[in-house]
């Protein structure tokens, strides 16, 4: 993974009291942050303000209050900056009568690349995004995954130094997901800066160990996985299990692990474990299950959803 490198020229993104209002609705609320170049994840539940923040960063929106600088420049109507950034939007929007090749080539031309070079670069970008096979078919015939690859290619075609992906893994199949994660990591290794937004923690965790956490338009935390884990270290986690012998298992878990509470369902088969040490729990649960003689048929953590984590963080602030 590529850890962000401080002091590599101007900051990648620098905001001061950045606020964006849609009428009276807050899109982004008083965000002040400065992050160095590197690969960053922008994490937040749906509706948390990620897309608004990305649109401010890419100059599609103007701040209501405060400032935003990207690569040392204010993005609104800054044509020079647009040459240096690539944006892969979340929305599944296209000129569906074009082929992927025509679409990417056209956007290369709009980036100021001459006709012959635009053709070459479009082919290269589409190959990089894994879209060569279908690039001459009209986009209207594409699957969701194909369209996603096309969007990725257009963001890369002008070889930007900073690439921004808004929820790029939405709708991709496992292979596409793996390839896209690899692509982001490769871009990082090539020295590009990348910002990837997502509402799924483990997806972004596979790409980078540096995050911005946003919720309800507010920046909750920024830094590496370790620093955010430290913030979250005492956050309670709920683990839901279904097992035969649930009562015996629950008693063993309470006795042997740092478990706050265990609730047994009325049917005596389901139990909900509440712990502040999920790592310790998962490291030892298999042994305890085996020793207790219980037969576990299902186990899941209800806190996988980022919203639960953010709810906890918001409550702490």
């Amino acid at each position: 993974m590529t850890t962000p490198t401080p002091n590599a020229g101007s900051a990648l993104i620098e905001t001061r009291s950045l606020t964006k209002l849609y009428g009276v609705v807050n899109g982004v609320n008083d965000v002040t942050v400065s992050i160095p170049r590197g690969v960053w994840g922008l994490l937040g539940p749906n509706g948390s303000g990620k897309s608004t923040l990305l649109k401010l960063i890419t100059g599609q929106l103007r701040p209501t209050e405060g400032t935003v600088r990207v690569l040392g420049r204010q993005p609104w109507n800054d044509l020079e900056l647009y040459r240096r950034i690539g944006f892969c939007p979340e929305q599944d929007a296209f000129y569906s009568f074009l082929s992927a090749f025509e679409f990417v080539r056209m956007l290369a031309r709009l980036s100021g690349i001459d006709a012959a070079e635009a053709r070459r670069r479009a082919e290269v970008a589409l190959e990089r995004a894994g879209a060569t096979e279908f690039m001459h078919r009209p986009i209207v015939t594409y699957s969701k995954g194909m369209r996603q690859r096309t969007k990725v290619a257009q963001a890369l075609v002008h070889d930007p130094e900073f690439v921004i992906f808004d929820e790029p893994l939405t709708g991709t199949d496992p292979v596409g997901r793996h390839e896209l994660i690899e692509l982001v990591r490769t871009l990082g290794r090539e020295g590009k800066s990348v910002l990837v937004s997502s509402h799924v923690l483990h997806e972004v965790e596979a790409m980078t160990d540096a995050f911005l956490l946003i919720h309800a338009g507010r920046l909750l935390a920024s830094g590496t996985v370790e620093s955010i884990r430290a913030v979250l270290s005492d956050a309670p986690h709920n683990i839901v299990m279904r097992a035969e012998g649930a009562r015996e298992l629950g008693a063993r878990l309470l006795a042997e692990l740092a478990v706050d509470s265990v609730d047994i369902d009325e049917d005596q088969r389901g139990l909900t474990v509440r712990t502040r040490d999920p790592r310790g729990f998962f490291a030892n649960v298999a042994r305890i299950v085996a020793e207790s003689g219980a037969r576990v048929v299902e186990m899941k953590t209800s806190d996988d959803d980022l919203a639960a984590v953010f709810k906890y963080l918001v409550a702490r602030i």
Binding site: R83, Q91, Y95, L110
Partner: protein
């Protein structure tokens, strides 16, 4: 600019809009043919260069067909990108936003002008070129000028209110271009219709009683040409300014 122009032409001529476009240039010819077959040509000599068939063509083309074509083109130029959420791709490229507007305007006007002129010429053949060369010149000039002017005005309305562009353009046409342009007030000099009528009167040589001038239009060619150019240029410049300055929100607020 060339890429945007090409894109705009494919949007205009490659989708369902092309059928409406075809209808708007074909139906006037069929209407003219029907009238000619049913009613024949107007009888008698017409003094003072008033030719009913020429007036009919003026009302049909510069005052109706061109407006409809501009509705399909100018009014939708931005809103189609906004509603399709493709504006993101254009606005994150190093192209000045005013150039995007200009490219779409030029491409749309250049593509639709030959179609409406062709339709007009066919209609003129059907009614045997009423008014001769002067009215032919007047009708052709007014048709092209009307298309250019309404395209610019509707592009401006589309830039100001992209999500209600069609409805507002129609309201504007009814209230301003049809009603207000006949008001004997100075404000009617801000309408395209007033100058289009002036252009038609001045080129065709149709004399107007002095008392009709304030609401129908002038008879001097220079102010007429200057007026229609001013309306067109102002609307287009304002559209480019608005698109450069304003935000276009393509996401639902959180």
């Amino acid at each position: 600019m060339g890429e945007i122009a090409k894109l705009h032409l494919r949007q205009l001529l490659g989708g369902r809009r092309v059928w409406l476009l075809a209808g708007f240039v074909t139906l006037p010819v069929l209407l003219t043919l029907s009238i000619r077959v049913v009613a024949g040509l107007p009888d008698g000599n017409f003094d003072d260069d008033l030719h009913p068939a020429a007036v009919y063509l003026f009302l049909l083309y510069p005052q109706a067909v061109c407006m409809l074509l501009a509705l399909l083109d100018g009014a939708l130029a931005l809103s189609i990108e906004l509603e399709g959420r493709t504006l993101t791709y254009l606005f994150t490229r190093p192209v000045p936003k005013w150039k995007l507007v200009l490219a779409k305007y030029v491409a749309g006007t250049a593509a639709t002008a030959p179609l409406v002129v062709g339709s007009l010429l066919l209609s003129m053949v059907i009614v045997e070129f009423p008014g001769g060369l002067r009215w032919t010149a007047a009708l052709l000039t007014c048709t092209v000028a009307s298309l250019a002017a309404y395209n610019a005005i509707y592009t401006l309305i589309g830039a100001l209110v992209p999500r209600r562009a069609m409805v507002l353009c129609m309201l504007y046409s009814g209230i301003v271009e049809f009603a207000l342009s006949f008001a004997p007030l100075t404000i009617n000099h801000a309408t395209a219709s007033y100058f289009l009528r002036s252009l038609a009167f001045s080129i065709s040589g149709l004399p107007l009683p002095p008392e009709a001038g304030p609401f129908l239009g002038g008879t001097e060619i220079v102010p007429a040409v200057f007026g229609i150019l001013a309306v067109t240029g102002t609307a287009l410049a304002l559209a480019m300014f608005v698109v450069t300055r304003r935000e276009f929100v393509m996401i639902e607020p959180v």
